[in-house]
């Protein structure tokens, strides 16, 4: 991302809090602006944004202290969507927790399902089949694309651009149709089970996904044409809300927020799961850590996800007819026909439904690269079929904590842009 000089020359001059231009067209010399005298600043104003406000992406509430139009301080208030998922998980069998994960980060439910299954399998020491691995990779990357598309569309709207919203939601709809064909649901997918999947992909799924992979890059190209060198977009995003690599690490950020600041940390590369080390893809890294870099990183991640999807589809052809579940009757339910006719299968079915699958005493933390950042599930087991503790490491909760720092001294309208760039989802923040 070293084309910044060209973009600056095309960008409109943005003014910082003191009214001084931060980006200036090349070759233009602005006269220095005198500091306003102190007595112009009167009482500070307290403004409440949300919890019911479209620009806060859910039920986030921001209390903003303003001096004129300059933000002195932002205090986020969260918890309006708190549902006690972690507490509920302590009263559920491991497989019964899967539906709860749908509702945390509801913009990428399939990736959450995968993380839960992987964490439970790590705890129980189960190795899944190769076809299951490939299908879960497909689920994760489909989720990444739809989540980033929602981010792109809504952030565009926050900054006054409506067209990309229509484009991105049309593409998202195509993935949702595939998701619905596979799992029977668009949002509450509950795709995975411990040791496998709820169902194999249906007929026509592979052709549909290949068709998507073929035509989707063209849409990304159009978005790139529309945004990347757009004067208004550059003016609103370049140099706004920048964060250094050191701060990004210190604030425990993850995902595109961390990588836009120039830190090369992607869980898929650094702590590989599901055989991600065998796929050929690149991890985009930003340079300045501003909103513009976060946009560039997410746009490129969608391209890379398409590449991974194509490779996964190639592998699926080799694995046609291979099993998706481990062959362990204590973990995986027998087929319905056998459960109704075979005594042994019926016993296994009964024990699993009534008693659940017990996990050995111990604990496991497993993090995966979710669209929002590193999603981690931490299970502590006392040997029963229900976890003692189910902790969600919520990426958007931790990423949102940096908002007050990013908003110090910016203009009020930039608060909306910065908040949008973090890519939050309240279901996961409040849990």
């Amino acid at each position: 991302m070293s084309t910044r000089t060209l973009e600056v020359s095309l960008g409109t001059a943005t003014l910082d809090a003191r009214g001084v231009a931060s980006t200036v067209p090349l070759g233009v010399q602005l006269p220095p602006i005198a500091e306003p005298p102190d007595d112009l600043g009167g009482e500070h104003m307290l403004i409440n944004i949300g919890p019911q406000h479209p620009a806060t992406h859910g039920v986030l509430r921001l209390v903003v202290e303003l001096d004129g139009e300059t933000v002195i301080r932002v205090v986020p208030h969260i918890g309006y969507l708190h549902s006690g998922f972690e507490k509920l998980g302590e009263y559920r069998h491991y497989n019964q927790i899967v539906p709860l994960t749908d509702r945390t980060d509801y913009l990428s439910p399939m990736a959450n399902n995968v993380c839960l299954a992987l964490a439970a399998e790590k705890l129980m020491g189960i190795t899944i089949t190769e076809r299951c691995q490939v299908l879960r990779v497909i689920a994760c990357e489909m989720s990444r694309i739809i989540s980033h598309l929602v981010w792109l569309g809504t952030t565009g709207i926050d900054l006054g651009a409506f067209t990309p919203f229509l484009w991105s939601f049309y593409q998202r709809e195509r993935i949702y149709n595939l998701q619905e064909a596979w799992t029977g649901a668009r949002l509450t997918t509950s795709l995975t089970r411990v040791g496998g999947l709820m169902a194999d992909i249906p007929d026509g799924f592979e052709a549909g996904l290949r068709d998507f992979c073929r035509s989707f890059p063209k849409v990304l190209q159009e978005v790139d044409t529309m945004f990347t060198r757009n004067a208004i977009w550059c003016g609103r995003t370049q140099g706004v809300g920048p964060l250094s690599a050191e701060d990004a690490i210190n604030y425990s950020l993850s995902g595109p927020m961390l990588r836009a600041s120039g830190v090369d940390y992607d869980v898929r590369k650094d702590r590989p799961y599901l055989g991600y080390e065998t796929y050929d893809f690149d991890v985009p890294i930003g340079e300045y850590g501003d909103i513009y870099d976060r946009y560039r990183v997410r746009l490129e991640e969608m391209t890379q996800s398409t590449r991974i999807l194509e490779q996964a589809l190639d592998r699926l052809e080799r694995l046609r007819g291979a099993p998706i579940n481990v062959s362990d009757p204590r973990v995986i339910l027998p087929p319905k026909s056998r459960a109704m006719s075979d005594m042994e299968a019926m016993i296994f079915h009964f024990k699993q439904v009534m008693e659940g699958v017990p996990a050995p005493v111990g604990e496991a933390y497993l993090g995966i690269e979710n669209p929002k950042g590193e999603l981690g599930y931490y299970f502590v087991s006392d040997g029963s079929a229900k976890p003692v503790r189910w902790r969600i490491r919520p990426p958007s909760f931790i990423n949102l904590a940096v908002l007050p720092k990013l908003c110090e001294g910016v203009l009020l309208s930039d608060v909306i842009a910065i908040n949008a760039s973090i890519d939050i989802v309240m279901g996961e923040i409040d849990r």
Partner: protein
């Protein structure tokens, strides 16, 4: 998945001796139990020592076991981005004593909300945290700490009582004292709140 113990354990034992109580490996993750009084020192060393370099705080959380005899555990999940290594640190807190542990906010700013959440859900206080107040539950929430095992799944209060309290709630309760201390809003405050502010209950009074 390997059962190998992280090499950091030997280094920790050599550096801190008896403050490292014990260690174990579960599902390939190394867990180190540390004396509660020295946990800040240990975490600071792990972060800053060039050989350890655990510069990324992945998570802070707590665990309470179903067995009421067992102590509460505070858990720090660390990662070294450069070395691609993980380590989990734990401190055991006796439930009959006061639940206090040192904050690591001065080491990692990311600990801010994570520690607030542990305080909110488990009632564990972090000394040195600049703004330790509830985060997911509201400030006047009176039912206790939801993730503790003595907290029933549906809460302590009946649904009728919860509704009554919600309807009777003072709208000021939805602002933190710090926000209310901002000059323009201060004059309109009810007297008892002014009083609390004047006593220095968080927030600055101008």
């Amino acid at each position: 998945m390997s059962d190998a113990v992280s090499p950091s354990v030997a280094a920790l034992r050599a550096r801190f001796g008896k403050a490292i109580l014990r260690h174990l490996v579960s599902c390939g993750d190394t867990i180190v139990y540390v004396e509660a009084a020295r946990v800040h020192e240990v975490l600071a060393w792990l972060k800053n020592d060039p050989d350890q370099h655990f510069n990324y705080l992945t998570d802070v959380t707590a665990v309470e076991y179903r067995d009421a005899e067992l102590p509460l555990e505070v858990v720090w999940q660390l990662r070294s981005l450069a070395r691609k290594a993980d380590l989990r640190l734990k401190v055991e807190l006796d439930k009959t004593a006061s639940l206090v542990v040192d904050s690591v906010f001065d080491l990692w700013k990311g600990a801010d909300w994570l520690e607030r959440e542990v305080f909110d859900m488990f009632g564990i206080s972090f000394t040195g945290h600049p703004d330790l107040r509830r985060i997911l539950m509201w400030e006047s929430y009176a039912e206790g700490f939801p993730l503790r095992k003595d907290f029933p799944l549906r809460g302590h209060f009946s649904r009728a009582e919860q509704t009554r309290q919600a309807l009777a709630a003072n709208p000021e309760a939805h602002y933190s004292l710090e926000e209310l201390s901002i000059a323009a809003a201060y004059d309109a405050l009810p007297p008892d709140m002014k009083d609390r502010l004047a006593r220095g209950e968080r927030g600055r009074v101008k």
